[in-house]
């Protein structure tokens, strides 16, 4: 989009940054960006350093890699070792540490692990190599779930017999409900996930504004979008006018994408599921419906795995809930660093700890 280039115009961005910098909130305002992609965009732009005093940004649990429990990875790895399958995955999962290593470690040991850009790529691999069993690691929120649902439906139409998925899809709204009911949490407003909202629309978030009186703005991912989102949130908060607004109008319709939601509903059903750091959140995950059982890797490749306690000292759970800063974890920066992460918040490039690591080691001229 030529418009994309205009949105990235340096003069525009500098001016917007000046506008943000000169905000004078009447009281301390804390905003949470829910989505990991937002965390990454915010840190890549160096936005935290541009916020005025009185305005704080904290990161939430919207990083699918960060909230996937170790048991999921351990299951995938066990399936690979016991059943000689080809694991296919988005790149995001490759370095996440499970109980006995990551998918990268698994590949280094000689097991078949392929990075794909799309679930369709995994299905195409299965078509090209009918003698092999292909397992796709289906991770992601409501943005990704419909794409996987569509792929599974296609696989069924083609009568594919060597393609299964291991689901770990999660739903944002139940997590937001869990967050907002946490009495320790002090958030005044949410930067809501732009692309999840392309699918969901704005309706599902209304309870945040109407019942819990927090500001909400569904925001895009360009720096300009995020800055506009922040300005809109501060305005809502200052005016005590709590609503769900859509900043990302060029992509998000209030009604979302019903066709995408229909795909999710047809192929998946909600289930209670574990979020790393939160424990079980009711009806917050997606499982394959019975009619698609032949595509369920959990069923086709049963394995036993051992329960994995959280590593000693790892405070990812509290970080994910916005309760502590990454630097408050004693492992941060010493045992837990990007090239050998202990917890998922450091693994994922969009995890709060990884993002914080890049900025907290700022040279002195950057601090403050």
């Amino acid at each position: 989009m030529n418009q994309l280039q205009k949105l990235r115009d340096p003069k525009l961005l500098r001016s917007l940054a000046d506008t943000v910098k000169s905000l004078k909130p009447s009281k301390q305002i804390t905003l949470m960006e829910v989505c990991g992609t937002h965390t990454m965009a915010i840190h890549n732009a160096g936005l935290p350093g541009l916020l005025p005093p009185g305005l704080k940004l904290i990161s939430g649990p919207g990083c699918p890699v960060c909230v996937t429990p170790s048991s999921y990875l351990d299951t995938a790895i066990a399936i690979s070792k016991e059943h000689n399958v080809v694991l296919t995955t988005f790149g995001d999962m490759m370095r996440v540490p499970g109980r006995s290593g990551s998918l990268t470690d698994l590949r280094n040991e000689g097991h078949a692990v392929e990075v794909v850009y799309s679930s369709l790529g995994a299905a195409e691999l299965a078509l090209r190599q009918p003698e092999k069993e292909i397992v796709f690691l289906a991770v992601g929120f409501e943005t990704t779930a419909p794409t996987v649902a569509a792929t599974v439906k296609c696989a069924r139409e083609k009568g594919m017999a060597n393609f299964t998925i291991l689901t770990a899809h999660k739903l944002v709204v139940p997590a937001l409900k869990a967050l907002i009911n946490d009495p320790e949490l002090r958030i005044d407003g949410f930067i809501l996930p732009g692309h999840v909202s392309v699918v969901l629309g704005s309706e599902p978030y209304r309870f945040i504004a109407e019942e819990h009186h927090r500001a909400c703005v569904i925001t895009g991912f360009e720096s300009a979008d995020i800055m506009q989102g922040i300005l809109m949130l501060v305005e809502q908060i200052e005016k005590r006018d709590h609503r769900v607004e859509i900043q990302y109008e060029r992509a998000v319709q209030p009604n979302g994408n019903p066709k995408a939601r229909a795909y999710i509903d047809e192929v998946f059903a909600p289930e209670d599921t574990v979020w790393r750091g939160f424990g079980i959140i009711p009806q917050s995950g997606l499982a394959l419906r019975e009619e698609f059982a032949t595509f369920d890797a959990f069923k086709r490749f049963p394995v036993t795995i051992q329960e994995s306690p959280e590593p000693d000292g790892c405070r990812c759970g509290e970080v994910l809930r916005g309760l502590v800063e990454p630097s408050e974890c004693s492992l941060f920066g010493s045992e837990c660093v990007p090239e050998s992460p202990v917890g998922p918040c450091m693994v994922s490039t969009e995890g709060s700890c990884a993002a914080f690591y890049k900025s907290s080691r700022r040279p002195t001229e950057l601090r403050g």
């Binding site: 000169s22 989505c35 369709l120 990704t144 794409t147 109008e249 992509a251």
Partner: protein, 74 residues
């Protein structure tokens, strides 16, 4: 939790795919999740799928509003 970029539809590939382009790079995407896509439309692309047809007018409005916001401080 999602990378998505706007790309312009350059060719429809029935039954359910299209060729899309951005910055002189083309790729195939699935149209299964959207309806009524025409050549020239911009779609939001995520993990090999078009997730939505983008609203070009809304994009213009956003740009306009942003430029106004930016000028406020000058």
């Amino acid at each position: 939790m999602c990378l998505g970029i706007p790309m312009r539809v350059t060719k429809l590939l029935p039954p359910d795919k299209a060729l899309v382009e951005s910055g002189k790079v083309s790729m195939e995407v699935s149209l299964l999740l959207v309806d009524n896509v025409a050549v020239g439309d911009y779609v939001l692309v995520h993990a090999g799928f078009a997730l939505e047809v983008m609203d070009v007018d809304a994009a213009e409005e956003t740009l306009s509003l942003l430029n106004q916001l930016a000028n406020v401080e000058e």
